[in-house]
């Protein structure tokens, strides 16, 4: 029974996208959106029912085999339903359903309304394939398909040149990460002869040496960094804000970008054997968190603030799973998808209200005009800053606590995490202040209004989740810990701090949050300070890293390709070939004058032949 439910969870959105693909144009405006939302809600329902027996502690993992896909690799299209995938499925379909509902309002009046929901449904289906895969090959299928959907959705308004370019950039940078993933698959198959998770993880200790395990781990990290926008492959996420805001909420905040975290958590057995690889994951996570937080501080576009904030929060999760605190990582993944989705949808409703205006410099004083959005975003703001009892506090604190508990060098990472927490609080408060408080700085002719109910309901729902979400796994009642035990018990190396250290650590992170909020409140309380200094511009442009990438890879890459194509290939190899043709013609030309046409020249030729023949006979006859 659960098997069919799990399959249904994928087939519903997949079916929805196929139906909408063909019937999308003909359906009246809201109907397409409603169908899409219903399919995802249905998927959520199925997943919930299927997950019930996990809650009662009885259920155990099962695999659903659809059909035999690649016989030579022993890979079949099959799904694995265990507690971790159940949790991820619930998060994906739950947040996904809310965002679908929100999109009906946000995308109202768009020319390709139906097409939008086709892609959105396809994305949910692909993400579920990724999350429910029970072997590396299926995981890779989901991995690439979500990349496809992100490409389609980022460049949804493809009439805009920048949107199309952003979509292509996202896909290609993801693809760069996927190269690492493919090479990891090669190594895995070479050593295990199979892609199935269970066989690989069980026989990992005997088959793998630490060297190979580290290699696989690092390669998987490359893939994860590509997908979850970590250093150095993060450049595509800020540009991905070109897509409609619900897309940013769903793909670039709640679900797709967390795929990297899920993958590292899922392959815990391999990372467990490769401390260096796990350490690298954590370091990359911490570095990205701090780096992105500094950039977020200086952004003027409301969506780019949230984009860099997402990169930063993902850094936290990477730090968590890197430190083998898998439960903490997954927990933060869940809570983050609640409040970050809320922030994005809130920003979307602000933009919707301001008729497309995204620059915070032209906002301010919106709290009176958009009370519901303001209220829900306040909850999210407090949650992400880590103010108890909201969700963000518990999950972030657990990560920092577990990292601190690992002791030794890990405490440095804890310090970085704490500093990032402060910065997070600062830039979030800055964003709230610039948008909702202070004097209105609207352009003339812009009079913001609250978004319609269909958009505010999801905001309220997500706000509720952001409040309640944290209680799932507090130090007092670690329900999530037990829920995920069967998945992680073999690989758990870190454990949540208890007693006095826990309280001290919690206190430290709350203080950091309060300092951050205070600083920002002081700075932006009455006037908008001018932020055009060199430091601000540097951070605002993301330390010009993206531009450097552009120069190094894009431009010089094209130059090299141009040289290779038009000089080396066209003139070099092709030249050689055409040259041979021309050579034969030229030599032909040299021989031509010999044919003078006079009979006597030919006669001389005959005599020459005779003389040569005579000479040869004499020579052969022995002089």
């Amino acid at each position: 029974m659960t098997g069919t439910l799990v399959s249904l969870a994928i087939l519903l959105p997949l079916g929805g996208s196929v139906v909408l693909l063909f019937a999308g144009k003909r359906l009246p405006e809201p109907l397409a959106g409603v169908i899409a939302t219903l399919t995802v809600a249905g998927a959520f329902g199925c997943a919930a029912v299927a997950a019930v027996d996990f809650l009662t502690g009885a259920g155990e993992a099962l695999t659903v085999r659809w059909f035999d896909w690649m016989p030579a690799f022993g890979v079949d299209a099959s799904l694995g339903w265990d507690r971790l995938s159940a949790l991820m499925t619930l998060v994906v379909t739950g947040v996904g359903a809310l965002i679908h509902l929100y999109s009906i309002g946000y995308m109202k009046g768009d020319a390709r309304f139906g097409r939008f929901f086709t892609y959105l449904n396809l994305f949910i289906a692909s993400m579920l394939i990724l999350v429910l895969a029970d072997n590396f090959a299926m995981l890779f299928v989901g991995w690439e398909l979500v990349g496809l959907c992100s490409y389609l959705l980022i460049s949804f308004w493809f009439e805009r040149e920048t949107a199309a370019a952003a979509g292509k950039k996202a896909f290609i940078v993801n693809r760069v990460g996927d190269v690492g993933f493919i090479v990891a698959l090669m190594v895995v198959f070479a050593h295990f002869g199979s892609f199935r998770f269970d066989t690989v993880f069980e026989s990992a200790p005997e088959v793998l040496t630490t060297g190979t395990a580290t290699a696989i781990g690092l390669l998987l990290l490359v893939g994860a960094a590509g997908k979850s926008a970590q250093l150095p492959l993060y450049v595509w996420l800020p540009d991905a804000m070109e897509g409609p805001t619900p897309v940013s909420a769903l793909i670039h905040a709640a679900t797709m970008v967390t795929a990297g975290v899920y993958m590292v958590a899922r392959t815990g057995a391999i990372f467990g054997m490769a401390p260096i690889a796990a350490g690298t994951v954590a370091v990359v996570g911490a570095a990205t968190a701090l780096y992105a937080a500094t950039i977020a501080v200086a952004q003027t576009d409301i969506k780019r603030v949230l984009a860099y904030s997402t990169i930063s929060q993902l850094g936290y999760m990477f730090m968590g799973v890197g430190a083998a605190a898998y439960v903490a990582g997954v927990f933060h993944l869940m809570t983050h998808s609640f409040f970050k989705a809320l922030l994005f949808l809130g920003a979307g409703s602000v933009i919707h209200g301001m008729h497309g205006e995204q620059d915070m410099a032209k906002m301010g004083g919106l709290r009176r005009k958009m009370p519901a959005t303001f209220a829900t975003m306040t909850i999210a703001w407090l949650a992400i800053s880590g103010i108890p009892p909201l969700a963000g506090f518990w999950s972030k604190d657990e990560i920092l606590g577990t990292v601190f508990e690992r002791g030794g060098a890990w405490t440095v990472l804890w310090g970085v995490g704490l500093l990032t927490a402060l910065l997070t609080a600062f830039y979030m408060t800055r964003m709230m202040w610039l948008t909702f408080f202070g004097e209105p700085r609207w352009d003339d002719g812009v009079h913001p209004h609250e978004s319609p109910a269909v958009m505010t309901i999801p905001l309220l729902a997500l706000a509720g989740l952001s409040v309640v979400g944290g209680l799932v796994n507090t130090p007092f009642r670690t329900t999530l810990e037990h829920f995920l035990d069967p998945v992680f018990d073999a690989v758990r190396l870190a454990h949540v701090p208890t007693g006095s250290t826990a309280v001290a650590l919690a206190g430290a992170s709350v203080i950091a949050a309060l300092i951050g909020i205070g600083l920002a409140a002081l700075r932006y309380r009455d006037r908008v300070p001018d932020e055009t200094g060199f430091a601000w511009r540097l951070m605002g442009r993301g330390y010009y890293v993206d531009d450097v990438y552009g120069q190094v890879f894009a431009r010089s890459g094209k130059l090299a390709a141009a040289w290779l194509a038009f000089r080396f290939d066209a003139r070099g190899i092709d030249g050689a070939v055409e040259g041979m043709g021309a050579l034969t013609r030229k030599t032909g030309g040299w021989l031509r004058p010999i044919q003078t046409g006079f009979v006597r020249t030919s006669a001389a030729g005959v005599v020459l032949g005779a003389v040569a023949l005579l000479g040869w006979f004499l020579w052969r006859g022995g002089l």
Binding site: T596, F598, R600, T601, A604, V607, L608, A610, V611, L614, G615, L618, G621, L623
Partner: protein
């Protein structure tokens, strides 16, 4: 002893005829020179035992072929002295060079043993008509028939050339 004198006299005649043929300004003189050479060669045939061949030489070669030549010379007009301009600058030296080479080659070959062979006082070969006839129809019958065919073709060719002038012929 007789053969030596014959050889000397007619050898010189042959060479003189040949040279005059090449050197003569007027084609008629060259024709006559050639005729002299042919006749002296006929004599050599006799001295070498080729009686039938000698007769044939005289009748056909000296007779028919040379008269044909003379006839054509008359037709074309005997007074056509060649213009002196030499179109092919490279031709003369090249020709001389080749001739020198060829002559050297032949002389070099002449040194080989089998050519100088034993002196044949008496003429062993009987070149009478019977001997040639029997030989012709025993060992050489196929080439004999083929040459018959050749002659017919040559005759047809000559007639064709004469008759099928392009219709725009200038007469």
């Amino acid at each position: 002893m007789v053969e030596l004198t014959l050889f000397v006299i007619f050898g010189l005649a042959a060479v003189f005829g040949a040279v005059s043929m090449v050197w003569a300004r007027n084609p008629v003189y060259s024709a006559l020179g050639l005729m002299l050479t042919m006749l002296s060669i006929a004599v050599f045939y006799v001295s070498n035992g080729g009686y039938f061949v000698a007769v044939v030489q005289v009748i056909i070669y000296a007779g028919a072929v040379m008269t044909l030549f003379l006839f054509v010379i008359m037709l074309i007009g005997v007074d056509k002295s060649e213009e002196r301009t030499e179109r092919l600058p490279v031709q003369r030296p090249l020709a001389l060079g080749l001739l020198a080479l060829f002559a050297a080659g032949v002389l070099w070959a002449g040194r080989l043993v089998w050519v100088t062979g034993a002196p044949a006082g008496v003429v062993p070969v009987d070149g009478s008509i019977e001997a040639i006839g029997t030989e012709l129809f025993r060992k050489w019958v196929l080439p004999f028939e083929v040459t018959a065919l050749l002659l017919i073709i040559a005759a047809a060719g000559a007639v064709a050339l004469a008759l099928f002038r392009e219709d725009g012929g200038d007469e």
